[in-house]
Structure formats: structure tokens, C-alpha cells
């Protein structure tokens, strides 16, 4: 195994182990050693994140591991992102996400899992927390020029506020600017379609897949 492969392997291990200090330091070492930032990203960070996702899906890992990996990935991305921004166009199917549990709902575990999983998959996630007024969600998405708004409601009596969000985007003439993903225990594909959302997913893993598909569809839309 070459020195480069060994270092990339250590980065992957740090991500899988959720050790922020190591992931940041090793990524810095890799950059200093002249390893291509894209190789660090894909073979180290994303490869580790994929392994964590698989462990989570199989029941070997739980929420704390997911959160620690998200944190380790964020620390490492702080090192490679500036380089990637300088040297390349966006080359992966990730993007900027604003996540929130909507107004009146205070349940956050599902939203946290999705936010952690998205972060662990390379998305840049701003989590606004719970009970967030829809105008605040939209304002943050505008401020960050987000690609995707991911909103959640566990309570059926809070779900209507997700429709309000989409209606408000429409009324503001901003609907085409953002993809909107909705989620929550009682959210069905039929509900998502009825309120005009772009996607929903039954769990955090599928949410990542859906988010990637939405980003890709946005990119192909830009290309066309």
C-alpha cells in the first residue's frame, strides 16, 4: 500500500469512527502531501460516509455514531472545501440544504437523522431546529442560496404548514429556485405530491438518495 493510500485509509477510518480531530488533521496532512482534494473527498471522506450509512442501515450504528460522523466530516470539509471551490466546478451530487421542523412541531429526531445523514453524505446542511416559522425557513434558504429545503413534521396537525411553505414560495415567485423535500412519520408520497413537494422519503438513507436525485435533476435543468 502506498503512503497516499494509507493516509486516505486513515481518513476513512476517522470518518467511520467519528473522530473530528483526526479527520481534520489527517485531511490537512493529505492536502499538505499534495494529494488531490477530489481523491481525499471521494476515496476518503465520502467512502467513509458511505460505510457509516451502511452500518446505520444494517442496525450496527445508531444516531450518536451518525452525529459524530457528521461532525468529523464537517471538520474535514473545512479543509478541503476551499481547495475544491478554487479548482473545480461542483463535481458531486451534493448541495446546500436548509433543514427545519416546521412551525408548531417540536419533534426533531427524524429531522436530525436526515440532517446528520445529509451532512455525512457531503451536503452542506444548515439546521434551523424545530418550531420554525415558514418565512424564516425561506429567508434562510434565500440568504444561503440553498439548493434544497428539507422540512419535517411528525404531527398531522403541523403538516399543513409544509403546504403553506410551498404556497408561499409560489406566491413569492421563488418556487423554481428551491427544491423542497418533506418528511415525517405521517407524511406519505400522496401527501407530498398533493402539496406540490418535490420529494419525500421514509427514512434518512432514502432521504439522501432523494436529495441527490433532486440535485442532479437541478443540474441537468441548468445544463439544458
Amino acid at each position: 500500500m502506498s503512503g497516499e493510500e494509507a493516509l486516505i485509509g486513515k481518513i476513512r477510518e476517522a470518518i467511520v469512527g467519528g473522530i473530528s480531530e483526526d479527520s481534520e488533521q489527517l485531511t490537512r496532512e493529505a492536502v499538505d502531501a499534495g494529494i488531490d482534494a477530489l481523491v481525499i473527498l471521494n476515496d476518503g471522506l465520502m467512502s467513509g460516509a458511505d460505510e457509516v450509512g451502511a452500518k446505520f442501515e444494517s442496525g450496527e450504528y445508531f444516531l450518536p455514531e451518525l452525529m459524530l460522523t457528521g461532525r468529523a466530516l464537517k471538520a474535514a470539509m473545512g479543509v478541503v472545501s476551499p481547495i475544491l471551490e478554487k479548482t473545480a466546478e461542483r463535481t458531486t451530487d451534493t448541495g446546500v440544504v436548509v433543514a427545519a421542523t416546521v412551525k408548531t412541531d417540536i419533534h426533531d429526531i427524524g429531522k436530525n437523522m436526515v440532517a446528520s445523514m445529509l451532512t455525512a453524505s457531503g451536503f452542506e446542511v444548515t439546521d434551523l431546529g424545530v418550531d420554525v416559522p415558514i418565512k424564516d425557513i425561506i429567508a434562510k434558504a434565500q440568504e444561503l442560496d440553498a439548493d434544497l429545503i428539507a422540512c419535517s413534521a411528525l404531527l398531522t396537525t403541523s403538516m399543513p404548514f409544509m403546504r403553506d411553505l410551498i404556497n408561499l414560495l409560489d406566491a413569492m415567485g421563488e418556487r423554481e429556485r428551491f427544491k423542497v423535500m418533506v418528511g415525517g412519520a405521517s407524511v406519505t408520497p400522496e401527501f407530498a405530491e398533493r402539496i406540490g413537494a418535490d420529494a419525500t422519503a421514509p427514512n434518512a438513507m432514502d432521504a439522501v438518495k432523494a436529495a441527490r436525485a433532486l440535485i442532479r435533476s437541478g443540474q441537468s435543468g441548468e445544463d439544458s
Partner: protein, 457 residues
């Protein structure tokens, strides 16, 4: 703790902590350490453990968790700290018996022991399940009319007069009061007007709860929910619900829906968090009794191996170390008119009963659609009573549950779940009786479970 205002003072003045730090650094990491220190482990083949030392260790770890951390106010982003002596006093304050309802329908709920000979209370209903108005009254009457049922609860009205209900909106007040009008009406119609209720399930926020605190709606002899947030958190919305009961006198049902696989990690850590939640709820929720409702992070239902183990060990931990009234929710994956709903109900009812809990349910079909009925509530009660009549041991209970798991565990792999049918497709809506196919399924499963070893069923 002299009075509840001290909780508010501590929530205002306690040490500042961000929510992210609370979740990860405090709850998740401390729980992980305590699980390691106490060498807590679980065995998927022992969903009803028979290891008193393990139950005691889970309790000790849970007590240490809340002693080290306290609780968290999401409203003020402060830690609500408690002295060990206050936590111990909170445990001592827990009622050992509680009268619910009134008149001839009054029932006394007691703190049960492991393998207690006294039957569990059968608290029937689909707690919090979103329910359209046209189905609400017939659904609740379908379990109110069952002779084996002692107390009742209900779903949440998802729409009223054809309009959707929104949390924190005036419609929440209308929905909560309408729900309780239907409940009282239903009880009168089945001839049990004094039966106790856990109500105001449509009151998600404090405004619904406030609107229900009137003898025409929730009586003093009824219960309402004082929920905690995941994990070990309160906010002023839920603190207001506790405060709302102080002069009025409703029974406070603390509700900590610990996510199994969430911040506590695997089953042992989740059990530790659940123990800590109950001890905290004695003080922050002013709990008269605790609702035990761990949720499987992946499958929601309370009938997975992990959740059955958590419910079992938590009930045992309290029965041995801090006896109190625990009512455990049954939220099966499956819905009406499926045999799996009955298998899941039986497994969950056996576990709850033998470990010292009372029965509440069923929130059939994961509690997301109104696909439940009075028949599975009847079955839940019959199974619980059979367990105590038979004097089922922990080992026998475990064997029965393993056999039942073989019959229903496949539902967790079904991509669309196993939701069954809505209430009006499982019941004759005029007679309020199960349709023949549902009745026959019930009889067949009952015979099967009896032959599996629950002979008293």
C-alpha cells in the same frame, strides 16, 4: 422541591448549554460511558430478561444519568439541575395507587410488581392516532363497550367539521373540546359514564390542554399527557401542561417516547435513558404515573425485539428499585384485519404484564392511520388477564414471545408496512361489531396462542 416555580427558576437560571451539546456531548456520550461502566448488554433471544442484577444495573445507570445531567429546557437553553436528594424524594412521592374515573366505573390503578398476580389495567384506545371526525365516535365506542376494558383513551381529531386541525391554532381548541365531547358521549352511550379517560389527545400544544381543563371535558378524575422531548428535555409548552394541572387536579401522565437507537444508542443505552426520563418526569412533569413508550428508530413499533427488551427491563428496574405506576403503550406495526396485529398485540401484552406494567392500546398500524378497532383492545386485555391467571414466569413469557415473533417479525421488512384496513372496513358500523372475517381471524389467533402455551386465554 418546595413548589413547581422552582423548576421555572432553574430553567431560567441554570447553566447555559446549546441543544447540540446537550444531545451529543451530554446525553449520548454520558449514556455511552454509563453503559460501558455498568457492562450493560442485551440478548435478542432474551426479550424478557430474567436477570435481577441487570435490571438493578440499568436502574443505577439511569439514576446516575439524570443525577449527572439533570434536564434541559429547550425554551431557555438552560440545564435544570437537581440534587440527588430531590430525585430520591421525587421517587418516594410517586403514587402507589391512583383512582381513575368516578362512581360505579371508578378503577384503582396500582404499582404492579414483576409477575404480579393482580391483573393489569386494560386502558383501551389508540393514543394520539390521527382520526377523521366521521370515524371518531364509533371507533372509541368499539373499545368502550368491551367488558374487559377498565379505562379508555383515544386518537387525535385530524379534522373537524371538514376542516383540517392545526397545532397552536384556534382549531386545536375546537378539536380538543370536540374530542372530549365525543368521549363523554360515547361513555354515556355504552352505560359507563364514570369511566376514567386519558384525554385531550388532540391537544398538541398548551392551548388545547388549557381548553380541556373543565369538568365538562376532562374531569379531575381523568388524565392528560405531560410529554417530555427527546431526550431528557422539556419546554415551556409542556411545562405549561404540568402547571395547568396544579390547581385543577387532573392526573398527569408523563410521556417520554425514548427513541431506541437514538441518542441512547442501542437497547441498553435506550433503557438507561428511559429510566432517567421517568426519574426526571417525577419532578418536571409532576407525574402521577408514567407512560412507557419507547419507539424503535427504524420501525416505529413497540413490538420489535429491541423495544420489547427495553420495556421489559425498564419495568423490572422500577418494580425492583422504585415502584410506581407504569402504563405501557402497545403500538403494533400491523393494522386491523391482519393476523399479525393480533400476534404483535399478544407479544407486547405478555411482556408488559409479566414485567409489572399496565396495558394501553392499541395504536395499530404504527399509529399513523385509523386502522385500529376495539377487537385488538379486547385481545390485549384477554392476553394480559391470562398471563396473571396462569402465573406465567419470565422464562415462559420469553418463550411465548419468541414463538409469536416468528409469526409477525416479517412485517418489519415489508416496504409498505402492514397497515391492514381502516376501522369502517373491519367493523360493522351500525352494530359496532367486528365483521365476520375479522372476528374469525381473532378466534383463530386466540386458539393458536392458547395452544402455544397461554392456556388460560
Amino acid at each position: 422541591m418546595r413548589n413547581y416555580q422552582e423548576i421555572l427558576d432553574r430553567a431560567a437560571d441554570g447553566p447555559y448549554c446549546t441543544e447540540e451539546e446537550w444531545d451529543l456531548e451530554r446525553v449520548a456520550m454520558t449514556t455511552r460511558r454509563l453503559v460501558d461502566e455498568h457492562q450493560l448488554a442485551w440478548d435478542p433471544e432474551q426479550v424478557v430478561p430474567n436477570d435481577p442484577a441487570l435490571a438493578d444495573a440499568v436502574f443505577e445507570a439511569g439514576f446516575k444519568l439524570v443525577q449527572e445531567l439533570g434536564g434541559y429546557s429547550r425554551t431557555t437553553e438552560r440545564i435544570i439541575e437537581f440534587e440527588p436528594g430531590e430525585l430520591e424524594a421525587g421517587i418516594r412521592r410517586m403514587p402507589q395507587q391512583l383512582e381513575m374515573g368516578e362512581g360505579k366505573d371508578l378503577k384503582t390503578v396500582v404499582a404492579r410488581d414483576i409477575m404480579d398476580e393482580r391483573p393489569p389495567i386494560v386502558w383501551a384506545g389508540n393514543p394520539g392516532v390521527p382520526t377523521p371526525e366521521r370515524l371518531f365516535l364509533p371507533m372509541v365506542m368499539s373499545w368502550m363497550q368491551e367488558p374487559i376494558v377498565d379505562l379508555v383513551t383515544c386518537g387525535s381529531l385530524s379534522e373537524v367539521d371538514g376542516r383540517e386541525v392545526r397545532t397552536g391554532d384556534p382549531s386545536e381548541i375546537i378539536a380538543t373540546r370536540r374530542e372530549l365531547q365525543y368521549m363523554r358521549q360515547g361513555l354515556k352511550r355504552v352505560g359507563r359514564p364514570g369511566m376514567g379517560m386519558l384525554g385531550a389527545q388532540s391537544a398538541v400544544s398548551e392551548i388545547g390542554d388549557l381548553a380541556a381543563a373543565h369538568p365538562d371535558y376532562l374531569r379531575e378524575c381523568d388524565a392528560h399527557l405531560v410529554p417530555m422531548l427527546n431526550e431528557l428535555k422539556m419546554d415551556h409548552r409542556n411545562i405549561s401542561k404540568a402547571v395547568n394541572s396544579i390547581e385543577y387536579g387532573m392526573r398527569n401522565a408523563s410521556l417520554a417516547c425514548v427513541i431506541v437507537g437514538g441518542l441512547g444508542g442501542d437497547a441498553p443505552g435506550s433503557a438507561v435513558v428511559n429510566v432517567a426520563s421517568f426519574i426526571l418526569a417525577n419532578l418536571t412533569c409532576l407525574a402521577d404515573y408514567h407512560i412507557c413508550h419507547p419507539i424503535d428508530m427504524r420501525h416505529v413499533a413497540t413490538t420489535t425485539r429491541r423495544v420489547l427488551w427495553v420495556e421489559s427491563i425498564v419495568e423490572q428496574a422500577f418494580a425492583r428499585n422504585a415502584p410506581c405506576i407504569i402504563v405501557s403503550d402497545i403500538y403494533p406495526k400491523s393494522g386491523a384485519l391482519t393476523p399479525e396485529l393480533l400476534y404483535e398485540t399478544a407479544a407486547n401484552a405478555i411482556a408488559i404484564t409479566v414485567n409489572g406494567g399496565h396495558l394501553e392500546g392499541c395504536g395499530s398500524a404504527d399509529g399513523v392511520v385509523p386502522n385500529g378497532s376495539g377487537l385488538e383492545a379486547r385481545f390485549m386485555g384477554e392476553v394480559g388477564h391470562a398471563v396473571t391467571r396462569q402465573g406465567t414466569s419470565l422464562e415462559e413469557a420469553n418463550d411465548l414471545i419468541l414463538a409469536l415473533l416468528e409469526r409477525y417479525e416479517h412485517v418489519f421488512d415489508l416496504p409498505d408496512g402492514n397497515r391492514g384496513v381502516p376501522f369502517d372496513e373491519a367493523y360493522d358500523m351500525e352494530r359496532l361489531t367486528p365483521k365476520p372475517a375479522w372476528e374469525q381471524m381473532y378466534e383463530e389467533v386466540k386458539t393458536e396462542v392458547r395452544e402455544m402455551g397461554l392456556a388460560e386465554l
